[in-house]
Symmetry: C2
Subunit: 125 residues, 2 copies
Amino acid sequence: MADKGAVTIECRAGDVLFEQGQPGDRAYMVRDGLLEVSLIVNGDKQVLGAVGPGEIVGEMALIDDQPRMATVTALDDCVLLAIDRASFRTRLDATDKTTRHLLNRFIHLIRAMAARLAESRAQPR
Amino acid sequence: MADKGAVTIECRAGDVLFEQGQPGDRAYMVRDGLLEVSLIVNGDKQVLGAVGPGEIVGEMALIDDQPRMATVTALDDCVLLAIDRASFRTRLDATDKTTRHLLNRFIHLIRAMAARLAESRAQPR
């Protein structure tokens, strides 16, 4: 990811980078540290995974222009490269049509599954 | 999608193209007709969406080499272009690293959410 349109930011362990349902105008490339991706389902937090160095988070809202699907919280002190919408979209537009279609379909599926999760009640096995 | 490594197949309304949990070695580009993507959660079918002309289905198993995440059933008589693993992977390898990373992450997230759905009990709103 080119550094044009990107700015380095730092966050502390426990900081919420963004919250489920908020509008999103930035994606983040993790330089250092670990962040947790979680979903609030009927008031309960469900951890979906973690992102670490070299990984990107927050790009979904930039691809489909919908609110943030999940909440991302720093587990460590983190260093992130924040990428603005225009830079991200420029890069995305350079991707071939089939791949863009796949990215969109995956995001659509992720949002559909998040809605299904919200309709269901979490129960232990 | 190039036609090399691709073969046209037809299926009838009601046919199951592939089933959740099976190994997968083909992706399908829909030429004609509509197919339903569904998940069996605690014995109940949950419809996640539909794919139609110009869309691809079944590519996830080719990207991450895991079993089929969902079941895909033809809603109409369909014409599909079946794309083998080698052709699909050749195309994928030509995609830039960041995009491949995103595709992998989305699939990882989709599978994590499918597992969460399987742990939960579907309830009416």
